[in-house]
Symmetry: C2
Subunit: 231 residues, 2 copies
């Protein structure tokens, strides 16, 4: 997340400032979240083909529909900043598509772990950022990241499978690590490209040390989520 | 719709009766609608690959999410009848999958026409049936069939394309006819298999003449919808 390129990062003027809704990074934040929702929608719909049952397909379709409800919230929030959502999303298409291409699940269980773990990593990151934003911006971010009841389905499916298969458990444990690694790689790529977003994250976390600590907390949460899945 | 097999159809006992919510055909009706929504969801997600733009993909994802909102309404309605939704949907999987397989769009415009026309045909049919149902059942059916604002996007896309290309217009006109034909074929197949549903339709329409008149009205509405698309 830019810790290797500190020279390129500006020192924040105000420590832990409450950012105004019109900080230019806010439109970027809504846009990257919005493209995240639309790409998650299509990946889920595609990955549902791996489902062995209609029950699984229905569960995935509900998850995907929930992503679109979040997309519409972000679309409305972006419209209120005066930005065109398609222009605003364009800079994030490459990184998010690359994340999904590099973490293409080959089994139903990999797909379920990806949904749960990927959503969790994103929620950890954006929720921390939201804490430093103006209340109206924070409300939008928290709303679209709220965990839904759909994750119960995923937890059940994965726990059941790994309880009876040690090799499945080992495979999915490695898969979870890869998801975290790829997410961080693509987040770094995005930050390197988008000064306003980097500014916003730096202001939210305080300084480069703050970013490093945020990443440590995210790794801890990731490990906790893996444990919930029995991994 | 069974007009060729009148011997197999029972004569309704009550002419244009208001059906009770516990008519066994009501669970069938909710179930066929529910599987219609889930299969439409996945077809839309698949067909969105044909979209030349991200704008088109977003529009389709919103349509698909709206289908899932309808699915959840039907799931709740079915639960209130005591039926398991997966058991209830099972008899309709083959016919609806066959409809989609036989009308697999090969272009983005075919996909858009299919969405608009297919939804319209289904709405015409089920709305007429709903008129004869108890108010609480009718409310569920009308709710899930209500036209959404998404269809404006489809109308615009198709009208724009056919205004500048006569060959495209001719091709999509034929495509629209094929959609109606395939929908009627699969509806007949379903009716032949499901006595309770046939009973419900017969009661709603009065008799076999009523069914024939319903089909004539559906063809008129279909022609009107095609005209809206510029076809």
């Amino acid at each position: 997340m830019g810790t290797q390129s500190s020279a390129a990062l500006r020192v924040p003027l105000i420590d832990s400032a409450i950012l105004a809704a019109d900080h230019p990074g806010v439109a970027d934040l809504f846009a990257v979240l919005a493209y995240g929702e639309i790409s998650a929608f299509y990946r889920l719909a595609e990955e549902a083909k791996l489902s062995p049952t209609l029950r699984g397909k229905v569960a995935v379709a509900k998850m995907a529909a929930a992503e679109m409800a979040h997309f519409e919230t972000l679309e409305a929030a972006l419209a209120s900043t005066g930005a065109d959502i398609f222009d605003a999303m364009a800079p994030f298409v490459r990184a998010l598509d690359a994340y999904h291409a590099s973490t293409d699940p080959s089994t139903w269980l990999e797909s379920m772990v990806k949904f749960y773990v990927g959503d969790g990593i994103a929620a950890d990151f954006y929720t921390e950022i939201a804490g430093a934003l103006s209340p109206e911006v924070a409300a939008v971010v928290q709303d679209v990241l709220a965990e839904t009841s759909h994750s119960e389905f995923v937890v059940e499916e994965v726990r059941k499978a790994v309880a009876v298969s040690r090799s499945e458990r080992d495979r999915l444990t490695l898969w979870g690590r890869r998801l975290l690694g790829e997410a961080i790689t693509q987040a770094q790529y995005v930050m390197a490209q988008r000064d306003e977003l980097t500014d916003l994250v730096l202001t939210a976390t305080g300084d480069l040390n703050g970013i490093a600590e945020l990443f440590e907390r995210m790794q801890t949460s990731h490990a906790e989520r893996m444990a919930v899945l029995g991994l």
